[in-house]
Every structure is written in C-alpha cells, then in structure tokens.
Amino acid sequence: MDSVPSSRVPPAVQTANVCRYYPMGGGIIRAVDGISLTIERGEFVALLGQSGSGKSTLLNLLAGLDRPSSGSVTVQGRDLAKMSSEELAAYRRNDVGMVFQAFHLIPSMTITENVELPMRFAEVDRAERGQRVRESLEQVGLGKRLEHRPSELSGGEQQRVSLARALANRPSLLLADEPTGNLDSRTGEDILNLIRDLSLSLGMTVVMVTHERALAERFAQRLVFLGDGKLLSQEALA
C-alpha cells in the first residue's frame, strides 16, 4: 500500500486510523476502532460484517454525516474531520449520494419532488431541474407513475427512486447502507445490477454495506470484513 506509484490517480477515499467512540454508561463503545482503508476511484467495495460490527458507522463517517473521534477521512485531498458543518453539507450534496435500507423517501412528496429535493439544496436552476429529474429517473429505469407518492410504489421501485435521488446532483461517490435489506432477492439483485452498471457507466465509486456475502461476491470488486469496529480482512475479486 505504501509503495503506490505516484503516477496513479489519487484514491477516491482514504481513512487513516479512523475511530468513532460512543460514551455508554461508565465506559465507551468503540463502534469504529482504528480503521485504515483506501478506496480507488470507480471501485465497487462491499463492507461486510455481523450486525453491530460498525459498518453503518464507518459509512456515515465516509458520508460526512458523522465526525470521527480520532483519525482522518480524506476525500479528494480534503480531511472531512477538519471541515466545518457547512462544508460537510456541501460535500454531501455535491459529491455524495446515499441509499438506505429503509429508502428514506419523503412520504408527502411525489416521486418527482423527492428526486428534485437535493437539487433545491444545491440551488440548481429551476429550469434545469425538470430535465435532470427525468434523466435520473431514466437512469434507474423509472418512467411511469412519477406523480405518485412513494407509498404507492413497490419496495423495488422505491429503492430505484431513492437511487435516482442519490444521482440527482451527479455525485462521484455512492454510499449504500444495506440497499437490498428490505427487498426480496430478485428485486435486490436488480437493484445491485443497476448500481454496478451505473458505477461502470458513470465512473462512480461505490461503497455498499451488506451482510449477504453471496450478493457482495457477485457485484463488488473488493470485500472488506469488519468485526467489533476493526478491519478484519480484505478480499479482492476478479
């Protein structure tokens, strides 16, 4: 790792001995405990581990939703730990797209409005938004029922909407926390196929949390195993 040739493109994400502790009762919980990890541009990485091993916590640190207790998270040469909350918000809205197990769509908004929402925060011109909403929905294969509410859609469709929302501001990093956790296996596979295709066609880096090793092996390029907040092992796939 240390002997990476300088001619190579800098990594998309790099963590150095990053920790996230929670005070609990008298002691502390080491949710993430000294993880150093490098993820290349355009790479599709799966984070694996048992429940409570720190996968979500690590993902939130990469997303700039949470701050490390110590260590650093470097994205595009900038240390997230040193950024102001305003800068972190800008990083999240411009560089990161997030997808969750529970979809987390806004129930009162239509599909179109949900996909448009990140563009409001990014202050994208009104005139441009409609076009970009359609583009994003096309990328995830949704063309119908765009004025419906999320609750009127199936789980798979909802996850596509949330993927479209994640793509709205054209991020370079897609973070997915158990994106198939609420879907049946066929729909889950469809979503992962979609994510892999988008990663390849858009050159987007993907970090996906899952506890289904079989799925991870089929779609990811590298597996990272966590346990008790520590990096246990890594496995590169062909």
């Binding site: 939703l65 909350s85 918000a89 997030m98 969750f100 009162s108 908004m109 202050e123």
Partner: protein
C-alpha cells in the same frame, strides 16, 4: 437553498398538517385581531378627541396681544420688560410679518366694537365681531340655521340666537333673508391742519387741546354711520367664544367687511393718545396649520416682542394621556398574541419531533444546518403572515361591530354617531409585520432544535 424553494417547502409542510397549523394560524390571527382592535380603538378615540378639540378652534390658534396692553396679565413677563411703553404695538406691519411666518395660515384681527341693529324701527345694542371665512369649520356652525357668509366682504350678517330672539321674540328664524341696518361708529382720520370743525365728535381727539411739542397733532374722529346688511344665518354660540366672559359678540360680520367699514375700536383711542396715527389692533388671532406647530409659531411671535397665549399645554397632557392609553390597550391586546406565540412554539416543536427522520434525510442528501433552520423559520413566518392577514380581517370586523354598537348607543341618547374605531393603513402593515416578527421569534427555539438534530440518530433503522 434559494428563497422561493424555501417558501415552497415551508408552505407544503404547513399544508401537510392542515388542522394543526390551521388552528395555530387562527390562534395568531385572534392575537393580531385583539391587538389591532385595541390599538385602533386608541387611534379612534384620539382622533375623536382631536376632532372635537379642533372643532373648538382653540388648539390651532395663538392669541397675540401687545405688551402695552393688559399689563399685569402676566406679572413675570412684565418684570422682564422694563419699559412696556416701548414694546411694539400690533399694527399693520406686525400683522403682515406674522402672516409670513412659517405654518401660519391666517392672521385675523379681533374686531369687537359696539353697534346697534335697527330692525322694524327698534334699536338693539350688541357687540359686533368680525369672523374669518375659516370660522365655517368651527363647531359653533355645526348647527347653523340659514347659511354662512357668501364671501369675506359680503354685506351679510349672522346673529346669535339670543340676539335674534330680542329682535323677533316670536320667530327669530323669520329674520333670515331680511335686511337690517347696522349703526356703528366709523373712524375717520383728520388731516393734521384740519380743525375738525362741524363734525360730530363722539370720541376724544387731541385737537386743539394738544400741546404736543413735536407738533404731532394727528388724530381722528368717530362718525356715526349705517350699513345695510342681509341676515343670512343664526347660531347658538359665539365661535371661538369659549374663553370670553365679557363683551360676548352677538352680531357677526365677515372680517374683511368689518375692516372695510373701518369701525372705531378701543385701541384707536390709545394709538391716538400715543401719537403716530397708524391703525393698531388690540388682539390678533393667528391660526396655525397644525396644532403640533403652535409652539413654534408662538415662539416666533414672542421673539417679535408680543405676548402670546395658546391652549397648547392642554393638548400636551392630552397627548400624554393617549400615549398611556395606547400603551395599555397595546399590552392588553398583546396578551392574546403572547398566548398565540406559545401555540406557535408548541406546533413547531411537535413538527420537529414528528419530522425528525425527514430532517435527517434532508441533511443526508445535502441540506445544511442553516437550510433546516431557515425552513422552520419560513414555516413560522408563513404562519405569522397568514395569521396577521386573517387577524386584520378579524380585527376589522370587530372594529366595525364596535362602531355599529356605539352608533346605536349614541343614537339612543340622541347624539350624532361617531367613528370611535379607526383602522389606519400604517396599523395594517405594522400588525402584519409584528405578527411575522413575533412568529419568527417563536420559531427561534424549534428551528435551532431542528438544525441541531443528529442525522445519524434520526436515520437509524429500527
């Protein structure tokens, strides 16, 4: 986030829980309505009082006298003026100078002479007073029978009802339209060399008895004259008469006519004694454009060396009274708004709790703490705005009801109806602005609470 996006999101969020936000908005509107109703009642009462006082014509008026006259009227003043004999007199140039002072609309001499009305062969004695055309606005003319003067020098007369009764005890109204004769004394200047022979002299002239060393033997004589006048109206009370006890005027002529008739006055005698035959006035009545400027005008005239009097002090304490009244009405009206503020806080805190996850999602997809804060502010402000508009409408309705109610009450007591409740345009704007500001203040705590929410916690999958 841009302003219009903020507003759009805020309104759609408000519409999400229509009942709760609607009730809160109604609560704000009740607060605004009570504030508006109270304050406009204060404004209405104040305007009513000013209207009544302005009608009396006393609050925009400065009475000017020479320090040579009425000595002892103001002791302190007299002590300061070492030689009152040298104080300026109220002559034509002085009157002219006052007319040109800022804010002065009118300077009228107070003409008050003895005269007689001859009607049906009988003679009736009374004081003759000149009235400016502006006297029409005086409340004494509120129940004028007949008409006001057709012009400032029309040969017309208005009589006091008491006086008219003296002339025609049966039906004084019959006099209106009739012609009467006024008998009065005309002041006629004497040429310095004239020995005033053959003239009926009613008043003293230095004449031959003068031993003035300077040779200033200028004088005048008073000649009995008559003038035909048409009676045009009858009034109950003397205009501007509120401060007068003696020599109540009973015969009113247009002021320019009185001056043209050149009636002999008390002051004429004094000026003839002093010598230097110009015409002087006993009292000048200076009318000021706005009661608020009376002090300034009074000051300017004092500097000219005259003594002035106005009822300014009375208006000052009146204004103080209404400031206190407005304050009380304002505090009383604000109570409901204070309660509404609590309702806003409650509503928004509930909204923050309910929308925890939504706030987390917004942060995850790029909203900053500031965006979240502004969104809740916008929701509070929008409720304040709608509550304010609704409150104005409600307050307007309450005020109209107060007016109708007092109208019925006054009518029952045979009094003319008065608008006691007036909604000035500035109050509409101020109330809506105030409502928005109060709502924003109420949104301060919920908004910062929403902004501080930790997205990681709110997005935890349970």
């Amino acid at each position: 986030m841009k302003g219009y996006d903020l507003f759009e999101l805020a309104v759609r969020n408000l519409r999400q829980s229509k009942l709760r936000n609607g009730l809160t908005t109604v609560g704000i509107s009740v607060g605004v309505a009570s504030l508006v109703a109270m304050l406009s009642l204060g404004v209405g009462l104040q305007q009513l009082a000013t209207r009544r006082l302005a009608g009396s014509g006393m609050f925009d008026t400065v009475f000017v006298t020479s320090k040579q006259d009425f000595r002892g009227f103001d002791r302190e003043d007299d002590q300061k003026t070492e030689h009152p004999e040298n104080a300026p007199v109220l002559d034509e140039p002085a009157r002219d100078a006052m007319t040109h002072l800022q804010y002065v609309t009118e300077v009228e001499p107070e003409i008050r002479v003895m005269g007689e009305i001859v009607s049906g062969g009988q003679t009736h004695f009374g004081f003759v007073t000149g009235l400016p055309m502006s006297a029409r606005e005086n409340e004494a003319f509120d129940n004028l029978q007949g008409k006001f003067f057709s012009g400032p020098s029309a040969e017309e007369v208005i009589l006091l009802n008491d006086f008219a009764k003296e002339i025609d005890p049966k039906d004084p109204k019959e006099l209106i339209g009739q012609e009467v004769t006024l008998r009065y004394g005309e002041r006629q200047a004497l040429a310095p060399d004239s020995e005033s022979a053959g003239r009926p002299q009613l008043a003293g002239t230095p004449g031959g008895g003068s031993n003035s060393a300077s040779g200033d033997d200028f004088g005048f004589s008073v000649v009995r004259k008559t003038q035909k006048l048409k009676v045009v109206g009858i009034i109950e009370e003397e205009p501007y008469g509120g401060m007068r006890t003696v020599s109540r005027g009973r015969i009113f002529l247009p002021v320019d006519l009185t001056e043209k008739l050149n009636m002999a006055q008390f002051t004429d005698m004094r000026s003839s004694l002093r010598g230097g035959g110009g015409k002087t006035y006993m009292t000048l009545t200076v009318r000021v454009k706005d009661p608020g400027k009376v002090a300034q005008v009074q000051d300017a005239i004092n500097k000219m060396g005259f003594r002035t009097f106005s009822v300014l002090d009375a208006t000052k304490s009146l204004r103080r009274f209404f400031t206190v009244l407005d304050l009380f009405l304002g505090i009383f009206g604000s109570l409901a708004l204070a309660v509404a503020t609590l309702a806003i806080i409650n509503t928004l805190v509930m909204a923050v709790l309910e929308r925890r996850r939504e706030i987390g999602v917004m942060k995850a997809i790029g909203a900053s703490d500031r965006d979240v804060k502004r969104l809740f502010f916008a929701e509070a402000g929008a409720m304040g705005f709608f509550g304010g508009v609704l409150g104005i409408a409600l307050g307007f309705a309450i005020g109209k009801a107060i007016n109708v109610g007092t109208g019925i009450y006054l009518h029952r007591h045979q009094l003319p109806s008065e608008a006691v409740w007036i909604l000035p345009p500035w109050l509409i704007g101020a109330a809506i602005a105030f409502s928005i500001v109060v709502s924003l203040l109420a949104g301060l705590y919920p908004a910062s609470r929403a902004a501080k929410l930790d997205p990681v916690q709110t997005l935890k999958y349970e």
